[in-house]
Symmetry: C2
């Protein structure tokens, strides 16, 4: 089955202690869509300006990402610029130019309204909700978020949570949302807000799923070189949703492997700037790392 992905489509200028890369293809929907495309057909919903490089449209198409829902509007593409510290864990935003995103309000093409798998990648929760209300009985809806929305749009996010099957956030966001230091207690509180699956991302420490049948401790693929972690979380959730949509059987039966596949795509994402590494990955390379993670965790 196909996955409908809504989120940001952006140009990212990323600075690390070792290099500087201006206006790479970025945004939560771009990373998630490419990641999901290894497993399932993908339709992308987003907006870019007239300055959006044609080569990036070509890149989407090479991954067979449906662009019927991608609006190209007069104005500038959303531009984010950030800088990482030496340890690659801390980053600071240098610049955010919303451009055409400022007034974005997606109307879904009719063909998209019947999608079974919906990923509301990181974007303002009001926009995530706006997309969701246009959907007819999706089978599985997951959403990602970021600290910004906890700070400036918490009521919108809380409304959205009631409508989700799965909610994905990182450990510091889980703490911020629940005021709980202990991750298990935070998970319990987030379930009470709505979603029956909650996934806490912990960067290089992997991730933790809490669902109807309990916990799953998902490993991260160990990397000896992290070039640029931008988009790793989006790749994780995108890969997960792509795998889920492709797998036979129910969610419960597949969600653990889906997370591992997401984790592996995220590991490739970290090995290059923006999407430069992810877009060169083959399905066989993904399968190899999944098998390796099986070996690395077996006891």
């Amino acid at each position: 089955m196909s996955v409908l992905i809504v989120g940001s489509t952006a140009l990212d200028s990323i600075k690390t202690p070792k290099a500087e890369n201006p206006k790479l293809l970025g945004g939560s929907a771009s990373h998630a869509a490419v990641a999901a495309s290894f497993f399932s057909p993908v339709n992308l919903v987003g907006v870019v300006g007239e300055d959006f490089p044609k080569m990036y449209l070509t890149l989407y198409k090479r991954h067979r990402i449906g662009l019927t829902g991608l609006q190209i509007l007069p104005g500038k593409t959303f531009h984010w610029s950030g800088e990482y510290e030496l340890n690659m864990n801390n980053r600071r935003t240098l610049l955010t130019e919303l451009g055409v995103f400022e007034t974005f309000s997606p109307t879904l093409p009719q063909s998209h309204q019947t999608a079974s798998f919906v990923l509301l990648a990181n974007i303002a929760p009001s926009l995530q909700m706006h997309v969701l209300t246009q959907m007819r009985r999706p089978k599985f809806v997951a959403a990602d978020t970021m600290d910004l929305w906890l700070n400036i749009a918490l009521p919108d996010l809380l409304k959205l949570l009631k409508r989700l099957d799965a909610f994905v956030l990182n450990d510091s966001e889980a703490h911020q949302l629940t005021k709980e230091d202990n991750v298990l207690n935070a998970l319990k509180k987030i379930h009470q807000m709505g979603p029956r699956y909650v996934i806490v991302k912990k960067g290089s420490h992997g991730s933790l799923l809490s669902g109807p049948k309990g916990l799953f401790i998902c490993p991260a693929y160990p990397l000896d070189k992290v070039v640029d972690p931008t988009g790793a979380g989006d790749s994780f959730v995108g890969g997960m949703m792509g795998y889920l949509a492709s797998a036979k059987g129910g969610i419960e039966q597949n969600i653990r492997r889906a997370m591992v596949y997401g984790s592996v795509v995220a590991s490739f994402c970290c090995e290059g700037f923006g999407l430069t590494r992810t877009t060169k990955v083959t399905r066989a390379q993904i399968e190899n790392r999944v098998k390796e993670l099986e070996r690395l965790t077996r006891f």
Copy 2:
């Protein structure tokens, strides 16, 4: 086979945001010995003062811990006092009274010199080395350490590293020792210092083994309540060595399960002050959590 454990035997006064507990049984050797005792006979090497409560000797004996190597000297038992912050991750030392530890120089009883499994629990590396030089061809020697020794006794520690089979340290110590932010690169550098097994502890994120046959990602048992993490690292390495000494077959064949057993004993340790929870644990409860960790990590 039995495990010989040398380390500190102390009285710990522990303050958390919720409680204060004076003069609990503590010290790296106490935690490690009790943890190992669930799997193998243990002999303890350490020193206490004449003020050491008899009930703590009784506790050691209840765990069938051999005390021939425990010296009771005129003076005061090593006393450590520390305080944890609300999130239980950061602690600060309020007081360290070395007492009889100041002049401790253990001479091993002859019966101890032929032990096959030796755990040099956290203590000054010169003392760890002093014990090691008295051993005759041990089969497997592991050592733990702490940031203090990296700061004040690095040359001693580097000498010791050349003599170890396994070295256990936490992630911030691995960074401090190698100046490497990336844990895989840190592991490579530590191998070059001597030990063929290196284990990096990451608290609630589990631990990572690097050995001749590659990596193992060892999970931590998820806890919804951490009462007092003091001694968790010592319990981990003690449980691991106790299991290794009890298991049939070679090190390589058993070290992954050994780490998981260590991880489970450490989880119990965190659920009570000092050794109060660990000493009430049954082998059956340990087996249950090991099985649960198998379920929680399978995909």
